[in-house]
């Protein structure tokens, strides 16, 4: 933003100085050029003949997917229940581990900003940057296929998520309330229980339910790598190209996710 002076001495207004203008244009040009270059790279690894065929393939796929095989649903209730269990137990486990981590990471509650905080932050980042599917992949190798691997994968991924959002909430609390409780002569754990926990309770409830909602979604696909749940049936059906069964699974997943989303929205509305 700039006010310039014209040759005749009157003021002129431009949004930016010419120099800043040039920088902005260069920035946009760079961004577009990078995207095009990246697209070129992808395009080189793509067999375009298949892509031009995609509408036909898509239509063919849809043709084979419908009508869904409803009778197959009877075999899906158990895996679906497993999926929901995986998400719920995994989330509960993540809460148990994640909450202490959050208190260790928040700079106003950590016992040591120099040692504990960075170490915990690293754990949080490591947990967050690895997708639950990759966690499942690792855990299936270690624990063998089954819903235990799924639960652990969900828990390991969610620990970082819950801890991160919670420690941010802890860092944003109102310091005067903490001061007031400290002024009564309360010990550190008492300050935690009377000044900090009541303030972060709504955030905590919101975060937990939000993550549970996400975990339902994630749990539906963990079976692809053998970690239990409805994804196993999906993988099996895709392997034998039983598309009407896949459609049934998709519809069931859609319904489950919609219900869980509605439920979590209700709970979050109630606590906030």
């Amino acid at each position: 933003m700039a006010i310039l002076t014209r040759a005749d001495g009157t003021p002129d207004w431009r949004r930016r100085t010419p120099r800043a203008d040039l920088l902005v244009w260069a920035g946009w040009f760079g961004a577009v050029a990078l995207t095009v270059a990246c697209f070129q790279f992808i395009s080189d690894r793509t067999i375009w003949a298949f892509v031009w065929d995609a509408p036909a393939q898509g239509a063919d796929l849809v043709g084979r997917m419908f009508p869904p095989r409803w009778s197959y649903a009877s075999q899906l209730w158990k895996p679906l229940l497993d999926t929901i269990n995986m998400a719920t137990i995994g989330t509960a486990l993540a809460i148990v581990i994640g909450v202490p981590l959050a208190f260790l990471a928040a700079h106003n509650t950590t016992p040591s900003r120099l040692l504990v905080r960075p170490a915990v932050l690293f754990i949080i980042v490591a947990s967050r940057s690895i997708n639950s599917l990759i966690w499942a992949l690792i855990l299936v190798i270690i624990l063998g296929p089954g819903i235990l691997a799924g639960i652990m994968a969900i828990a390991l991924r969610s620990v970082g998520f819950i801890a991160k959002l919670l420690y941010e909430a802890i860092e944003e609390i109102d310091a005067t309330q903490v001061e007031a409780v400290t002024a009564t002569g309360a010990s550190r754990p008492q300050v935690l229980g009377w000044a900090i926990v009541p303030q972060v309770m709504p955030a905590f409830a919101g975060i937990s339910v939000f993550r549970w909602d996400i975990n339902i979604r994630e749990a539906t696909v963990l079976g692809l790598v053998g970690a239990g749940g409805i994804g196993m049936q999906m993988q099996a059906s895709i392997n034998v190209l039983a598309w009407p069964q896949v459609t049934t699974i998709f519809i069931l997943i859609l319904a489950t996710v919609l219900v869980s989303e509605w439920l979590s929205a209700r709970v979050r509305h109630a606590v906030i």
Binding site: M1, A2, I3, T10, P11, D12, W13, R14, R15
Partner: protein, 267 residues
């Protein structure tokens, strides 16, 4: 007549009748105050003029053009002739003062010119002139949310004047300002109207301010006009008609006293 309103009626989808067959005429260059209790339809009336609110029935004519039947393109051209000033300033807070002022020219320039902020040189000169007139030339590059209430309202006034309007629609310009700033803003609006020969409809809560600055006062109650006359004719009976029964003897005198107090505190 600059503005002619005939049988203007507005019924909201909720069923509330905000305006009930209002007839009103405003000649060029006249500053008119519109008073009335909250919910009387003052805001709806001026918004029906520039059709930010679509009227349910009736006609609005500006300079011989029937606004109520215009298509969207013609309506936008017609809106350029009516500058609007808002209660809570309604500046685009993340834009600079200058950008807010130039947004008054949006009806005159094309989309891409406005996107790249390429306004004709005349517009920019006019913007500087007006900002200087209201004493804000040095603030041109400040973001609007960095300004005080009185300063923001002055930017709002300049934005409306940038449109080169014939008529100002002013919605509670002083509602969020302190008494002294309120008077300064009202005086500024009236002066600028006189300088440029503009007509204005000023919605205002404060009866004393209305009497002090407007020559004509129109009182609205429950969507109907119940008083229309020169400011000095507004007496207790008129106020009772507009607002209902109350002891009005102090209100009418208060105007001059407050004015004195304000000038003293300013001195």
């Amino acid at each position: 007549m600059l503005l002619t309103i005939e049988g203007l009626t507005k019924r909201y989808p909720t069923g509330d009748l905000a305006l009930d067959k209002v007839d009103l005429q405003v000649p060029a260059g006249q500053v008119m105050a519109l008073i009335g209790p909250s919910g009387a339809g003052k805001s709806t009336l001026i918004r029906c003029v520039n059709r930010l609110v679509e009227p349910s029935a009736g006609r609005v004519m500006l300079d011989g053009v029937a606004l109520t039947t215009l298509g969207s393109g013609a309506l936008r051209r017609a809106r350029r002739r009516m500058g609007m000033i808002f209660q809570e300033y309604a500046l685009v807070e993340r834009l600079t003062v200058m950008e807010n002022v130039l947004s008054g020219r949006l009806g005159y320039v094309g989309f891409w010119a406005s996107w790249f902020r390429r306004f004709p040189r005349r517009d920019i000169e006019e913007a500087f002139r007006l900002l200087d007139r209201v004493g804000l030339a040095h603030m041109a590059d400040k973001r609007a949310d960095a300004l005080s209430g009185g300063q923001r309202q002055r930017v709002g006034i300049v934005r409306a004047l940038m449109q080169d309007p014939k008529l100002l629609l002013v919605d509670e310009p002083t509602a969020s300002l302190d008494p002294k700033t309120s008077r300064q803003i009202m005086r500024l609006i009236v002066e600028l109207c006189a300088e440029r020969g503009l007509a204005a409809i000023i919605n205002i809560h404060d009866v004393a301010l209305a009497q002090q600055f407007a020559r004509r006062i129109v009182g609205l109650r429950a969507g109907r006009i119940v008083f229309d006359g020169p400011a000095e004719d507004l007496r207790a009976e008129g106020l009772t008609a507009i607002y209902g029964e109350e002891d009005w003897s102090q209100t009418i005198r208060r105007a001059e006293e407050e004015e004195e107090a304000a000038t003293e505190s300013a001195a």
